[in-house]
Amino acid sequence: MSVQDVAVLSPRARRRRRIRRRLLRRPLAVAGLVVALVFVVVAIFAPVIAPYDPGRSDFSAPLAGPSAEHLFGTDELGRDIFSRVVWGARASIQAGVLSTLLAMAFAVPIGLVAGYYRGWLDPVVARMTDVMLAFPFLILAVGLAAVLGPSLTNATIALAFAAVPVLIRVTRGETLALREEDYVRAAVANGASDTTILARHILPNMAGTLIVQATVWIPTAIIGEALLSFLGLGVQPPTPSWGVMLSAAQPFIDQAPRLVIFPGLAIFLATLSFNLLGDGLRDVLDPRTQT
């Protein structure tokens, strides 16, 4: 890009370029980004990538070892493990991404309003988040699964539910700090409406923090989905999911350890990639909360 091209970019676009360049200078974050994208692509194109139907049993070759035909071997019902791991990415990415978006959709407006208007609303919201945080995540998920019934959708709702109080607190805290900024006062003096101030001035300025929070929550939700499915409270067999695969593999752990290793490795790599990306994004976007 030439000097002139840069000159015509708006300040916001220039800022975005700077952030992108700073992120790309971190090899671990880039590796995380690439692997995370691979998982997303695999999840979207699972039917194209998987060589076999994940539910098709080949009874002539149960528990077969890795071969050219079956890259990761077959499971106890002769199903292709590689195809099942590929399809399992769908449930994981769906639970991870959708639960985060769902939680954001609830938490961000509540946090914004509570932090901006304060008044009686603020302590009410604070108590509400305290109560939600009082239920340990898995206990909450178990309770919800008991009331709603076990399924991927309900597991996603439970995961979103667990993220909401955390995100409300973050959004509220950011709003409290941002509403004291000079540009917000200037907007108030100019007669901007509250909606304009929240949407145009406060929300864009906490976007970095929210993106970091989302990236950090996705791996937690991926593990959460695997956990719930493992316990029989999430994805129901025969639908392939990494948690379901691990649960089914338990009795065969001494005969075919790869049944345990491949799905677990998939969960581990998916969470590790999002965690690496999250750490990198935090360094670039939200330097205050470095750990």
């Binding site: 340990p136 898995l138 309770g143 493992f230 752990i253 677990g264 581990f268 750990t291």
Partner: protein
């Protein structure tokens, strides 16, 4: 100090009270007659009538709630579906097992996390720093239950060193008890140790740059003494809070760890309750978990205010 603790206790009581409403509303959201839910196996018409009278199920909802709460506070959550065993007793029987697991896990987390964090901070930028940072990241990303399965694969299936699962009470056979608790505690402890390590490292970096550390060095104290006696002592404060905040995660972690290693604790009870659709038990388990978690947090706050006199004045932790 007393005002601070009173305020915290008040807030905790309000949260427990609100949580009880959530649990109560949750069970009422279930389809079907709550009397059937609470009656367990014994579903004769007379038994159902008794339940209705005892829990005031024919009265308005607020009266029902008040009755439920007074019963719950005395530990009476109704009858479990498993013939005639009270939910309260079942829960009480299981809690000590989970407490032992949690205690051992925290010890594992501290033994792994504190030295790693201190070394990483003191030798900042060295190979040791990067190694422990990488391990912490792995510890945070690895799913506990998969780590548990891998440990079973290595130590029980391949090496045959430890039993894969099962539980022996501590007072029956302490050695066997610890042998069986070793893998679960390691699984549950590693995740927490990663967090302890990260916190310890950043707290140590802060205190190593502080004035009192420079003073200690200036007056000629040995480096060892500066690190252990001055920098580390102050950094341990943050670790107390961090460990406290992880206790909720430990309750969740215990659910899955106990499931994998077949330990009959509170966590396994939770899953049993859901699998058997034992609603009275689910309700009791969820409420006890929430109340227990709030109380633990209150104790952590209290401990923190004892350890750190500054917050007694400002009233704000941290």
């Amino acid at each position: 100090m007393r005002a601070f603790l009173l305020r915290k206790t008040g807030a905790a009581l309000i949260v427990v009270f609100l949580a009880s409403i959530v649990v109560f509303a949750g069970t009422r959201a279930l389809p079907g007659d709550p009397a059937l839910v609470l009656a367990g196996e014994d579903r004769t018409p007379q038994a159902l009538e008794e339940i209705r009278a005892k829990y005031r199920l024919n009265d308005p909802v607020p009266v029902q709630y008040a009755s439920w709460l007074t019963h719950a506070l005395t530990g009476d959550f109704g009858e479990s579906r498993r013939a005639g065993i009270a939910v309260g007793t079942t829960i009480l029987d299981r809690i000590p097992i989970t407490l032992e697991l949690a205690f051992l896990s925290i010890i594992v987390a501290l033994i792994l996390g504190i030295p790693a964090g201190v070394i990483a901070a003191v030798k900042r930028g060295s190979a040791a720093d990067y190694a422990s940072g990488t391990l912490a990241l792995v510890g945070l990303s690895i799913p506990h239950f998969w780590l548990g399965l891998l440990l079973i694969l290595v130590f029980a299936v391949k090496l045959r060193l430890l039993p894969a699962s099962g539980y022996v009470p501590f007072f029956e056979d302490p050695v066997e008890n610890l042998r069986r608790m070793a893998m679960p505690a390691l699984v549950l402890g590693t995740g927490v140790s990663a967090i302890v390590m990260r916190q310890m490292r950043s707290a140590m970096l802060d205190s190593l740059g502080a004035d009192y550390v420079r003073t200690a060095r200036a007056k000629g104290l040995a480096e060892r003494q500066v690190i252990i006696g001055h920098a580390m002592r102050n950094s341990l404060l943050t670790v107390v809070t961090v460990v406290g905040l992880q206790l909720g995660g430990l309750i969740s972690g215990a659910v899955i760890t106990e499931q994998i290693f077949v330990i009959p604790g509170f966590g396994r009870l939770t899953i049993e309750a859901v699998n058997q659709r034992d609603y009275a038990l689910i309700q009791g388990v969820v409420f006890v978990a929430a109340a227990g978690y709030v109380i633990i947090n209150l104790l952590v706050d209290a401990l923190y205010s004892v350890l750190n006199p500054r917050i007694r004045v400002s009233g704000q932790p941290g």
